[in-house]
Amino acid sequence: MSIKVSMTVNGKPVSAQVEERTLLVTLIREELRLTGTHVGCDTAQCGACTVHMNGKAVKSCSMVAMQAEGANIVTIEGIAAADGTLHPMQAAFKENHGLQCGFCTPGMVMNAIDLAKGNPNLTETEIREGLEGNLCRCTGYHNIVKSIAAGAKAMAK
C-alpha cells in the first residue's frame, strides 16, 4: 500500500509517496535522487548508508521511510556550507587522506560528525570503537582515525 511521508531533508521540506516497506535509504536515493548516501550491505553492518536523523547518526537502510515521518534528515549532500566550503570533518578527511574509493566515505563522515560532537579530544581507542558500525575496505582505517581526530579538533574551533 502506498502512503505519503513528509520530512525535512537537508533543510528543505519534502514529501513522497512510498510503499510501507520502502526503506529510508531508498527514499533518499531513488525518490530524492540524493545518491551520496550509499548501500554497501543488506544486514545493517557496513554503515555506508549513515545519515543524521534529528542530529543523530542512523543507518538509513535499517529503518523504513515511514519511521522518519516529520524528522529532520541531513545527508552527506547537506554537510558542506552553502557556498561549497567543506565542513571541518570533510576537510579533515581530505587533508589526512581518509578516503580512497570514496564509497564508505559519506557514511564515515556522517558517523564521524556525530562522534565528534562535543568531543574535541577523541582518543584513538574511542574513534576505533566508534567506527564499529562502519566498514572500509580501502584505507585500513589508519587515516580515517587520523582524520576524525583532526576533524573533531577542528569542529570545536
Binding site: T43, I79, K94, H97, T105, T125, C138, V145
Partner: protein, 788 residues
C-alpha cells in the same frame, strides 16, 4: 615555474566530489525508461535443471521479461589465459554460461533474470520463477576435488582437473635435496577469501535503436577489456557499437576485473526489451557471485646446507579455481604464483607443480596480490620455520640468502632488475625496535601473555609484461597501456588514460606527473578514465600496474608533446630546433634568454597564424602506447609483533612495521594509504577472514557480514610505514607500483609472529584465519599432546 610535484604530498583532486556525495557510482546512474533486473540463483551447489516455469513470474505486476539459458544462446564467458598442461595439452576450459544451461555448479550460479519496472517488482517476481532442480552430490574442498569417487563437475575435465602445470628443473632440484644438510617441510593452506569491495558490483545496460548501439555502465576496473571480451567472445557484437563506462568505482581489489555474467545479461536484455536494464548486486548476492580469492593447499620443502644457505625448494600446490574458469583464473596460481617462489633469495633451483581443480564453489580469480601473496606465504613461512629448526635468527637466515647483485635471473623465469633487500630489512628492524623485543616479551609474560615477533620479506612482480612473452606463455590479451595528452589552446591540459582508478587516486598522481613535466599548476591538469568512448584504448588497472605502465604511457605521450612543442617554439623564436632546450614547461633557445612557455606554444598550435603550416600540423594532442620490457619488482620487509592471551586465544597486534621499496614515489601520502589498506586486507586474511563451505551440502556458510569477519577499525593497529628507494631501471619514472604489497607481505609476517609466540607449546603451524577459537584450540591440543 612551480615547485616540483613529483614526491609531493598533494591532497587528492577527486576527494571533493566523494566527500560531498557527488561521486557517480554505477548504481547512481538512472536512465530514462530505467528497468530493474533481479537474478534467480541456484540454491544448490550442484544440480541438473529439470525445468524452469516462468509463467507465474511473467504475470506478476510490472514484470517485463523473464529470461533463462534457453533464451540467451551466446558464447561462454572466456578465460583470458591459456595454460598448457605438463603433458603439452591445453587446460580444460568448460563452457561458462551467462545463464545456466542444463546444470548449475555452485550456490549462486545464475539461472534466470527477471526484469520489471521497479526493483521491488523484480524481486517479488523472482520468487515466482519455479525451478525444478535435480540435486547432485557436490565437492567444495580443494584437497578432495580429485579424490576417488568425487562428484564430477564437467565432462571435459576428468577428475575435476583443469590442468597440472610445472615450472623449474625437477632433476636438478632433487639432486640439490640429496645433498642437503637439513630439509624443512611445511604443509600450508592459503585460505579462500571474499574480496568485498564496499561498493557491490552493478551494471546498467542500454540499447539504442537509433544507431544500433549499446552503452554499459558497469563497476569495472578495466572497461576496454570488458568490452573486448564481451563483444568478441560472448555477444558477437561489433566493438565500435558498444560503449562501456566504468564511472566512479567503489573499490575493486581484483574482483571487478572480470567479465561477469550479469554484465552480459543486462547488455543483451536491453535490446530485447528496448529499455535500459539495471542490476545492482546485494551484499549477500555478492558473496555467491563475485570471484573469490586464494584457496591453495601446498606442501613446501626447503633444502639447506649446514649454514642455512638455501640449496633448493620443492613446492606442490593444489589450487581451487571454483566451478568455472573466471577471466584470469588460470594464470593466478601459475604465472603469478610459481614465478615468485625465489622470493628475495638466491635459492639456485626451484621446482613447483600446480594442479588446478574445479569444485562446486564460486569461481576463484585474482584478489589483491593474486598469486603473489600465496607465493610469499609459502616462502616466508618456510624460511622462518627453517630459521627455527637451524637455530638461526630469522633476520640472519634471510640475510645469508639475500640476492645482492642485480640484475638477477631467478630459476623460475623472472629477471629482477633492481632492489636492496638489506636496506628494507634493516630499516624495518630498526623501526620495529626489534632490539627491545625481549624486554617487551618479558613484560607480556609477567602478565600471563605470550608475545611473538615475525618477519616477512616479500617480493612482488607488477605491471605484468611484455606482451609478446606473455603471449608465448598463454596470455590472450596485450599487456600495454595507452595514454593521451591533450593540450588546450589556453594552456590547460586534459589527459586520457587506459588505467582505471577505483580508489588509487590516479586523478591526482597522474596529474602530478603531467603538471610537473609541463610546469603547470596541478589544477590545470585533469585526468579522464573509465569510458571507452573517450579513451583510445586501455588494459585497465590490476596487478599494481597503473603508475608503471599507465603512468609511463602518459610520460611517452608527453615526450611527443615536448618534441612537437620544440618545433613550434623553434619557429616562434626563429631558432634551430636543435637549439631548443626544454625544462618543465619552458622552451629556451640555448645560450640566450629567449623563451616560450608551454602555454604560448599551445596557443600557437591552435591559433596557427605564426606557424610552420607547411611542415607541421596544427594542434597539440599526442597519444602513446607503452608495452614494458619487464615486470617491476617492488619488495620490502615487514615485522609484526603480537600478544596472545593463551586463556582466550585472542591475538592482539601490538605493532606492525612495513618498509617497502616501490622505486620512486610520486605521492607519498597516497602510497602510504595503499600500504595501510593492503596490510589490513592481509591481516584480515591471517586473523579474521575465511570463506567456508559446508562439506556436505556445498552451501556457503560465510555468506554475509554476520558470518564473514571483515576487519573493522578496532581489529587493526596504527601502522608504522616507511620506504627505501631503488629506482626501477626500465621505465622513465623509475616507479614500481604499491597497490598490493601490504596484502602480499602481511599474512606471513603475522602468522610467523603468532607461531613465534606459540613456540612455548611447540606449535609451528595453525590455519588462517587464526581466530581466537583456532588459537585456543591449537594451544589445548598441543598441551594435551605434551601431557600424553
Amino acid at each position: 615555474m612551480n615547485a616540483p610535484l613529483i614526491g609531493a604530498r598533494i591532497e587528492r583532486k577527486e576527494d571533493y566530489r566523494f566527500l560531498t556525495g557527488a561521486g557517480q557510482y554505477t548504481d547512481d546512474v538512472t536512465l530514462p525508461g530505467q528497468t530493474h533486473a533481479v537474478f534467480v540463483r541456484s540454491p544448490h551447489a550442484h544440480a541438473t535443471l529439470k525445468s524452469i516455469d516462468k509463467s507465474k513470474a511473467l504475470k506478476a505486476p510490472g514484470v517485463l521479461a523473464v529470461f533463462t539459458g534457453e533464451d540467451l544462446k551466446v558464447g561462454g564467458l572466456p578465460c583470458g589465459w591459456l595454460i598448457t598442461d605438463v603433458n603439452g595439452q591445453p587446460m580444460k576450459e568448460p563452457v561458462h554460461p551467462s545463464l545456466a544451461q542444463g546444470k548449475v555448479r555452485h550456490v549462486g550460479d545464475q539461472v534466470a533474470v527477471v526484469i520489471a519496472e521497479t526493483l521491488d517488482q523484480a524481486q517479488d517476481a523472482a520468487g515466482l520463477v519455479e525451478v525444478d532442480y535435480g540435486v547432485l552430490p557436490s565437492v567444495t574442498s580443494t584437497d578432495k576435488a580429485r579424490a576417488k569417487g568425487a562428484p564430477q563437475l564437467h565432462e571435459i575435465a576428468p577428475d575435476n582437473t583443469c590442468y597440472v602445470w610445472a615450472i623449474g628443473d625437477k632433476a636438478a632440484c632433487d639432486a640439490a635435496f640429496s645433498k642437503a644438510a637439513h630439509v624443512t617441510k611445511l604443509d600450508l593452506v592459503n585460505n579462500r577469501l571474499i574480496p568485498n569491495a564496499i561498493e557491490p558490483r552493478a551494471a546498467n545496460g542500454m540499447y539504442s535503436r537509433a544507431d544500433d548501439s549499446y552503452t554499459l555502465y558497469v563497476a569495472s576496473q578495466n572497461p576496454h577489456v570488458e568490452r573486448l571480451l564481451m563483444t568478441a567472445f560472448v555477444l558477437g557484437l561489433p566493438e565500435h557499437k558498444v560503449r562501456v563506462v566504468a564511472p566512479d568505482v567503489g573499490g575493486g581489489f581484483g574482483s571487478k576485473i572480470y567479465l561477469y555474467a550479469e554484465d552480459v545479461v543486462v547488455t543483451w536484455a536491453s535490446k530485447q526489451i528496448n529499455r535500459p536494464v539495471k542490476w545492482t548486486c546485494e551484499r549477500s548476492e555478492s558473496f555467491v557471485s563475485d570471484a573469490h580469492g586464494r584457496d591453495h593447499v601446498t606442501t613446501v620443502e626447503l633444502a639447506m646446507d649446514k649454514d642455512g644457505k638455501f640449496l633448493g625448494m620443492r613446492v606442490k600446490t593444489t589450487a581451487n579455481v571454483g566451478a568455472y574458469l573466471s577471466t584470469f583464473a588460470s594464470c593466478v596460481p601459475t604465472i603469478l604464483y610459481a614465478t615468485l617462489l625465489a622470493g628475495q633469495y638466491t635459492t639456485p633451483v626451484i621446482h613447483c607443480e600446480v594442479t588446478a581443480v574445479f569444485t562446486n564453489t564460486v569461481p576463484v580469480d585474482a584478489y589483491r596480490g593474486a598469486g603473489r601473496p600465496e607465493a610469499t606465504y609459502v616462502v616466508e613461512r618456510v624460511v622462518e620455520q627453517a630459521a627455527r629448526e637451524m637455530k638461526l635468527d630469522p633476520a640472519e637466515i634471510r640475510r645469508r640468502n639475500f640476492i645482492k647483485t642485480f640484475p638477477y635471473q631467478t630459476p623460475v623465469a623472472l629477471m629482477y632488475d633492481t632492489g636492496d633487500y638489506e636496506a628494507t630489512l634493516s630499516a624495518a628492524i630498526k623501526m620495529a625496535d626489534v632490539a627491545g623485543f625481549p624486554a617487551r616479551r618479558k613484560a607480556s609474560e609477567a602478565k600471563g601473555k605470550l608475545r611473538g615477533l615475525g618477519y616477512a620479506a616479500y617480493i612482488e612482480a607488477c605491471g605484468i609484461a611484455p606482451s609478446n612473452i606473455a603471449g608465448a606463455l598463454g596470455a590472450r590479451a596485450g599487456l600495454f597501456e595507452a595514454g593521451e595528452v591533450r593540450m588546450h589552446p589556453t594552456g590547460s591540459c586534459t589527459v586520457f588514460t587506459g588505467s582505471h582508478s577505483h580508489g588509487q587516486g590516479h586523478e591526482t598522481t597522474f596529474a602530478q606527473v603531467v603538471a610537473d613535466r609541463l610546469g603547470l599548476p596541478i589544477e590545470s591538469v585533469d585526468i579522464v578514465h573509465g569510458d571507452t568512448s573517450k579513451i583510445l584504448f586501455g588494459m585497465g588497472t590490476y596487478g599494481s600496474r597503473s603508475i608503471a605502465v599507465g603512468g609511463t604511457a602518459i610520460y611517452k605521450a608527453l615526450d611527443k608533446i615536448i618534441a612537437k612543442g620544440k618545433k613550434i617554439a623553434a619557429h616562434l623564436m626563429e631558432a634551430a630546433e636543435t637549439d631548443i632546450e626544454y625544462d618543465r614547461g619552458v622552451f629556451k633557445v640555448a645560450g640566450t634568454d629567449k623563451q616560450k612557455t608551454i602555454g604560448e606554444v599551445s596557443f600557437a598550435a591552435y591559433v596557427p597564424h605564426n606557424y610552420p603550416l607547411d611542415k607541421l600540423e596544427p594542434g597539440l594532442n599526442e597519444n602513446a602506447f607503452y608495452d614494458p620490457t619487464n615486470f617491476t619488482f617492488p619488495a620490502g620487509s615487514y615485522v609484526c609483533e603480537v600478544e596472545i592471551d593463551p586463556d582466550t586465544g585472542v591475538t592482539k597486534i601490538e605493532k606492525f612495521t612495513a618498509v617497502d621499496d616501490f622505486g620512486n614515489i610520486i605521492n607519498p601520502m597516497i602510497v602510504e594509504g595503499q600500504v595501510h589498506g593492503g596490510l589490513t586486507q592481509g591481516i584480515g586474511q591471517a586473523l579474521l577472514e575465511g570463506c567456508k563451505y559446508d562439506p556436505e551440502s556445498g552451501q556457503l556458510i560465510t555468506g554475509s557480514y554476520m558470518d564473514y569477519t571483515m576487519p573493522r577499525a578496532d581489529d587493526v593497529p596504527n601502522y608504522q610505514v616507511d620506504t627505501r628507494v631503488t629506482a626501477c631501471t626500465h621505465n622513465p619514472l623509475g616507479v614500481k607500483g604499491c597497490g598490493e604489497a601490504g596484502a602480499i607481505g602481511a599474512p606471513a609476517a603475522l602468522m610467523n609472529a603468532i607461531t613465534d609466540a606459540l613456540q612455548v607449546y611447540g606449535i609451528n603451524d595453525l590455519p588462517m584465519p587464526a581466530s581466537p577459537q583456532t588459537v585456543w584450540k591449537t594451544i589445548q591440543n598441543a598441551k594435551q599432546k605434551k601431557a600424553a
